[in-house]
Symmetry: C2
Subunit: 349 residues, 2 copies
């Protein structure tokens, strides 16, 4: 059944009041504060309908109504207006992101702080990752006698390195020649190309350095497959600013869930890779994670150079200023893309 325009207006008024006050809203208040030209009694009737249809809930008989998850969903999909950030908000965001970043981990952790400061909710930022990487470069450097540094660069721009112990009699030139040989053999390959046959050839060609090569190749493979996704959470304690988390048990449940990176990372992976929509919103139990049943999750996907992907988002109470959060995430998202582009590919656009 379609909602009448009047019902929509009332539903919207209720939700927006509730988002602001966190108090169940009563018919009288709607009649007074919103110019709907209706009396409290009429609104009461409509509210009863809306409740019956599932858009509203009642905490108890003598309280006002609060939006149900279905109500929020309808609001987000059909009623909500876009929020335009003010000039001040934009300026403040821009300036907080306008600085030099040196390491990927720093960017990601700082962005999560920025998001949580901007929205007043806990923020999540995923480290960018490639779906399938190819090896762009592998190089070994002799750091000191007996110690070699392996540096791997993938075509997504990810750089990783690892120290390795070698027997003392390998010198600078040997390292260089192995380095060059391996580079020639492996550059351009992705993880699937590391077939036993191909590896066998390499080992045979350089039989005297078998152990050495094995370590290097394992590390290269590790970089190409790249383990689990990593996330940063910023401003987790912001959740305590919301009255729905005055209850210490709820707060504890939420915070101990979010304290674990694995939990958060797994939750994000349930969202899919966002090919359908740039921003995905999970309201309450739409999110399959039971600990999150009282919260909403708003997540945007970013991608850098078409190769690297990741997610940024926030978690807040279901009663959340969705419009504002979405606008902030969009702006931060585009800045982040730019920063990462500059950083990883060294481009100045």
């Amino acid at each position: 059944m379609e909602l009448s325009e009047r019902k929509k207006a009332i539903l919207q008024a209720i939700i927006e009041d509730y988002i602001q006050t966190a108090e169940p809203v009563g018919s009288r208040n709607i009649a007074k504060n919103h110019d709907l030209g209706l009396s409290a009694a009429t609104i009461r009737n409509e509210m009863a309908d809306l409740e019956e249809m599932g858009y509203l809930d009642k905490p108890h008989t003598s309280a006002g109504r609060i939006p149900s998850e279905m109500g929020y969903r309808f609001y987000v999909d059909s009623l909500m207006h876009r929020y335009s950030l003010t000039m001040e908000e934009i300026a403040s965001l821009q300036s907080s992101m306008d600085r030099k970043y040196s390491q990927l981990e720093n960017v990601v952790s700082e962005i999560s702080d920025i998001i949580s400061k901007a929205t007043n909710y806990p923020a999540i930022v995923e480290l960018p990752m490639a779906q399938t990487s190819r090896l762009r470069s592998v190089k070994m450097m002799l750091i000191e006698q007996g110690s070699v540094l392996i540096v791997v660069v993938t075509d997504a721009g990810v750089v990783r390195n690892r120290h390795m112990k070698v027997s003392g009699d390998i010198d600078y030139e040997v390292i260089d020649s192995i380095s060059e040989f391996l580079s020639g053999q492996l550059t351009g390959l992705c993880a699937d190309d590391f077939t036993p046959a191909r590896l066998m050839l390499i080992y045979e060609a350089m039989a005297s350095y078998g152990d050495f090569l094995k370590t290097v190749i394992e590390f290269v493979l590790e970089c190409l497959t790249n383990g689990q996704r990593r996330v940063y959470v910023g401003g987790a304690s912001n959740i305590l600013k919301n009255p729905e988390f005055e209850n210490i048990d709820r707060a504890r449940e939420f915070l101990s869930f979010i304290d674990s990176r694995e939990n958060v990372s797994q939750m994000l992976s349930l969202l899919g890779n966002g090919e359908d929509a740039p921003i995905s919103i999970k309201i309450g139990s739409e999110n399959a994670v039971p600990e999150m049943r009282d919260t909403s999750l708003v997540v945007a996907n970013y991608s850098v150079g078409g190769k690297l992907h990741g997610k940024i988002g926030i978690i807040g109470p279901k009663r959340m200023n969705y419009a504002r959060v979405i606008s902030s995430l969009e702006l931060i998202n585009s800045n982040l893309t730019e920063i990462l582009g500059r950083m990883i590919y060294g481009k100045d656009e």
Copy 2:
């Protein structure tokens, strides 16, 4: 005034009971549960003395006593017995740390999780840093036309890299020769050695690549001076397990403080560099940070290869099992040192 043996025994009993129960302890309970051979009335008299001397506090007239900060301090300095971890505890710690780590950031964040799981308190781990580093190696790699990767290794074993854009006409061999030249000029220097005179010489020798060199040298300097300390916090929500943080305002104050890496890092820097004692303990307001006045901080210093230093520690309520925390930190500390040694210097011991 010296405390009599009997007063010490009573003080110890009170503190240990309070650590366990978090309830003010009364004279009757001490008489019953601890075999001191004294009646409640006698203990009452002694408790009155201890209170007058400042070792105990009274929340209100009709409650039992709780230790004052001075009481805890005396306990930690003079009364506390060493706690021996059980075989199970040791085995479980060892096994949770016994895996391969690839990146420094991963080690540090995982260690913070391990500490917080082992102690049930929020844990802090600082990234290892060198006090003064010398450059061990700088190398440039041409990744693709127009994009160069700079890799810097310091004598402390820290490796960092950064992408840099270059004009397209610089090829592989040019990069290599600049790389070799710079390496020869800069290897072995520390930040203070980068005098204007020396830099001038370098710029003059390679005048045609001025901008290029400038970027590289700036990055090297950045690596040698190395910015601010970075910390990881794990298991922050553990603090909510303690009854003293049932109060939502206290919880909020604590968690929002600890949510900020700068706050935590600054707090650690107030501790000095631990040359005096391997473990430092700050009880309540001994810690100058006002938000931490209700908590205690236990911090151990670690060092790797004599070059890299850092701190690990926990924050808990003043009513904390100090002995157990200290033993756990010591064990984790030694494992961490070993892991980092292997990782950074590629040594297998």
